[in-house]
Symmetry: C2
Subunit: 258 residues, 2 copies
């Protein structure tokens, strides 16, 4: 089975970089391969917000032993009021430093698993490490279950079927843009809801999709919550929440004969 | 952890229905939970084309023992020349019969795992069973790794980052529609390529996205293939292939400082 994204730079002494998708939150939704690689790597790297344990760490902590080296990569800034340009620069420097720390391990011949919630290449933080190191080290990316799949499973909502189109949008879009984007979708997911919940509800309402839409918070985690979008007026949505607008193709086609 | 999509109809004697996402092809890309549930259920149901072993079966066969009952649900029609309306009716009747077979097991108190490649609610065949049975039996859906995630991992291509939008399209779209749909995307995936490869290449070319696009066939399987879209003129694409058009946001923002 092809295992290596980029093995042209393989040198015998270098460690192997793994970008490991660890799924949406429930440790049992890790893949067998992710679990195996996490147990086999001498070095585990994960991102975390300041003063937080980090979602990624809470997913894998039972898989890690005291014999492994853990690189905790702590974001220098989070939601503090800060100039966008300054934020961009601080974050880019942080990813540079993080990549340097990981590279130091790889240069010593240690394999490093950089774990990442969900799937590494679907809005994953691992991308910033990949961008900096995949050309220099043998690298393998292990796909994971996304929060979108976990949310549809939790809600019991088939998302897309047959020849439907799926549109995945960030909640941060301007209300007018969001309304325009939702106007012609078959099925949609609005990610990273946070403080945009009311705008998303308004947009779904305006285009006649509010009735079928479902709000899902922290899918597959102990604190998971599933609520019809229409009933979310009182909810203060966290960043890790999304709104599902399922397609209707399943009802229109191949419906039960009886 | 919430485990039950619909437990309002729970009667003690009824079996539990599991819709199990088993990932894109590599058995190691099953989740730990999917593997556990497949091993624990006395009855395993899977779809298969006529005269084929079935992709789903090839993923799970090493996890199934002779003590388990296997329901092979064989599609009555595949790519034969057949009237669309006739096809729709035959397929709907087939799903009805399949649901009846599964319901008979559940009525006897046997738990049934209906396995499904990828993720059950992302173009998954399990949906048609869910639609027919989830209201009548306690039901749990286990999300899986999609072929999209497997393809981006295989290609080493970050798909969407930051505030980018992702559009997932079926290859069967008319060329003009496809071109229009691709005209304004941040990132896109065209699924189920098959005989539409040339049209997809033309559309990507027309909107200036051909250079970054990647064709991926049977991601994570032994026969996996990754080819730049521009170099696919000689390729006869199978149904299980897709085209990735990665977003460029990662390059534009938070790029390495050095």
């Amino acid at each position: 089975m092809p295992d290596t994204v980029n093995d042209t730079t393989t040198a015998p002494a270098l460690g192997h970089l793994y970008g490991v998708g660890i799924g949406p939150g429930d440790p049992e939704l890790m893949t067998i391969r992710a679990h195996r690689v996490i147990q086999a790597c001498p070095v585990i790297a994960h991102f975390a917000a300041r003063r937080r344990q980090g979602n990624a760490w809470s997913i894998i902590e039972d898989s890690v032993t005291a014999q492994q080296t853990v690189l905790r990569l702590e974001y220098p800034v989070t939601t503090e009021a800060i100039e966008p340009a300054d934020y961009e620069r601080q974050i880019a420097e942080f990813y540079d430093r993080s990549a340097d720390d990981i590279a130091a391990q790889l240069d010593h011949g240690h394999d490093v698993a950089v774990v990442c919630e969900g799937d590494p290449f679907f809005y994953g933080s691992y991308m910033y490490i990949h961008q900096r190191l995949a050309r220099r080290y043998p690298t393998t990316v292990i796909p994971g279950v996304t929060s979108v799949s976990a949310a549809t499973a939790a809600a019991g909502v088939p998302l897309v079927s047959m020849n439907e189109t799926l549109t995945v949008l960030p909640g941060v879009m301007q209300p007018a843009q969001l309304k325009e984007a939702l106007a012609n979708v078959d099925a949609a997911v609005v990610m990273k809801v946070g403080r945009h919940l009311a705008d998303i509800r308004d947009a779904a309402d305006a285009v006649g999709l509010a009735a079928q839409a479902v709000y899902v918070e922290r899918a597959s985690c102990a604190t998971e919550r599933v609520v019809p979008l229409a009933d979310t007026a009182e909810i203060e949505a966290p960043y890790f929440s999304l709104v599902l607008i399922p397609g209707t193709g399943l009802d229109a086609r191949s419906r039960p004969v009886r």
